[in-house]
Symmetry: C2
DNA sequence: GTTGGCACTCAGCCGTTATGAGTGCCAGGC
DNA sequence: GCCTGGCACTCATAACGGCTGAGTGCCAAC
């Protein structure tokens, strides 16, 4: 049904429409691309493409614009993720390298992403439960107060003070620290609770109750974590490019950006790790954002995704560039989290 | 020059224009307000008000709209801060009361403010340097590592690990903790450094160098603080009310919201504590926001302002309501910070 | 399967006209 | 001296109509 030339025509339409923001006609198409055929032939191809639902006409005497289905085909078959120039790669690396802490990494990432894609960028904070334990510190603050410090692979630091029912001897505290670290370092936080469940058994009867208490506090700290619902947003000023149809694209997006829960739905699941996920128009899980697309991917230390980041823009966006930028930033942030 | 009735006319024009968003003519003015005179008389008054620069005509055959100068007079002389109903007050109190930590307080405040005013709300995080010390904790983590924990009146917790050049005895650490707390609790952080400057003198010669080191780390923690450059933003979707002139008011505002430094300039100095500050149109310290107004005030524990919060909206905004909301939220947040 | 030709459609762009909201001014009244 | 009704005037906006040109669909010829 769709031979190579028709696909070429579709690709040309998408590229032209994305760059000009205007419906593209048969004449200008053969002028700007080397299709090797006449406008009349292109018109015939366009008629077929329209029949199949890949393109449409805003009105009778206008050119064609891609439909969601057209963009989908373009993204799936007609383009591959661009590779950035080494200069661009280096710029990304150095910009992210300067970050001083986790918060800074996230903020730099979101700015970078917004600038590279000229879209609205969203970066989810690394989830505590999905990251791994780097170190647990147990310090005595006074005879019956203990300070727990939990340091994760993503650089987050959580601390809790425990009011002990009865004092613990210094050597018991040392033993507890050693046992805790042996049990959970390198483990995911989500598994930490089960990993330490049998620790109290190894302590003297007198201390068992207190150790159980300490472990309960640790488990609670992990359970309390709501950082996975936190996101950073950048490049909102790029919304001006979305066009003047305020109510139909900008207002809903502004509203969505306020609701972090909605945003997280947009970014999608972390699971789809290695590849970049693209949701186009109606595929976006939010009805009022039918004219927007989301390009997102997971990221995290190593190649293990602990959170997602991506960009939101009009369906008529430059997918190859966005996909390349999202992919590149995600990989570099992952590297930073691994090293830092 | 401006008798009472002319001021009444100005007030009526401002109120009508704010609620209808349309230039207001002499006829509708006498219909909607009890001015007790005919449209012709109102027209004469309007001519004077225009000559004095308080109102203007978008074009010849249109009604009048207030100028920045007109709004200024309205805010200064023609209105006082509304008092909220007890029901509203209670709603604010309970909504803020539910906050679990400082971050939550800030986020709830910004949402509340956005909802009450239907504008874009901005809340600056409490500045570390302006808040006071509630408690300093000094804990030994190992023989040559010390953990410093600083808890402030705004609920912020800062911690630093100090690598000691030589070990400190437990009783010396206890003494250090006692001395530190005696010196700085209740003091502002900005003064903490000078307060502890002579502490090393009170210790034995052997420990003096190490104590100096600990104090240097504490001072550095305060100096490093950049939390005063942090702000929370909410209600951006309310920008849709700003009108359709995208480039002239929404785009610049979106850009300003991305630049926290600019935002802080907008909010203004913390100094003007007790009263609500209103900046109208050209008074706003950012040229591209000439059609925008800012209503802001300081807030903090007790009546001491440690940061600012406020709303940004079009010059044609409901000043009495905004001022009332900003004032009320600031006072309740201050109360929360005092108690919590 | 491709191409040039041609009739057809229709959004967008003036130019014109009609409407009416709102004003400024003036002469008369309290 | 201030207020008021009346009236002529201005001008943004809407409505109408004709024109233009980009772009299409179709068809006959290659």
């Amino acid at each position: 049904m769709l031979d190579d030339r028709k696909l070429d025509v579709l690709r040309a339409i998408v590229e032209d429409y994305v760059s000009t923001q205007e419906p593209v006609g048969s004449k200008v198409l053969v002028e700007r691309h080397q299709l090797g055929v006449s406008p009349a032939t292109v018109r015939n191809d366009m008629a077929v493409l329209e029949e199949e639902g890949f393109i449409t006409q805003p009105h009778t005497s206008a050119g064609r614009i891609p439909t969601d289905k057209g963009y989908r085909l373009f993204v799936d078959k007609l383009t591959s993720i661009k590779t950035l120039t080494t200069a661009e790669k280096r710029a990304i690396a150095t910009f992210l390298q300067g970050a001083v802490d986790l918060d800074d990494v996230v903020h730099r990432s979101v700015r970078l992403l917004a600038q590279l894609t000229q879209q609205v960028a969203i970066v989810q904070y690394p989830t505590l439960a999905r990251s791994t334990v780097r170190h647990v510190e147990v310090v005595s603050m006074s005879s019956n107060r203990l300070l727990l410090v939990l340091i994760t692979s993503t650089g987050r630091v959580e601390q809790r003070v425990v009011e002990l029912r009865r004092p613990l001897a210094d050597d018991v505290i040392g033993e507890l620290r050693a046992q805790l670290n042996a049990a959970v370092v390198g483990q995911r936080l989500s598994e930490a609770a089960t990993r330490v469940a049998d620790l109290p058994e190894r302590f003297h009867l007198d201390d068992k109750a207190v150790v159980t208490q300490v472990i309960a506090v640790l488990a609670q700290a992990v359970a309390d974590d709501r950082s996975d619902e936190k996101v950073a947003i950048g490049g909102t000023a790029n919304m001006v490019r979305f066009g003047e149809d305020f109510d139909h694209s900008i207002k809903p997006l502004l509203e969505a950006l306020e609701e972090h829960v909605v945003l997280l739905k947009l970014l999608g699941d972390v699971s789809s790790s290695s590849l970049v996920t693209v949701r186009i128009g109606h595929e976006v899980p939010h009805e009022s954002l039918a004219t927007t697309s989301v390009v997102a991917t997971g990221y995290g230390p190593g190649d293990r995704a602990v959170a997602t980041l991506g960009v939101v823009g009009p369906t008529r966006m430059d997918y190859p560039t966005s996909m390349a930028a999202v992919n590149a930033v995600a990989r570099y942030v992952g590297r930073i989290l691994t090293d830092g």
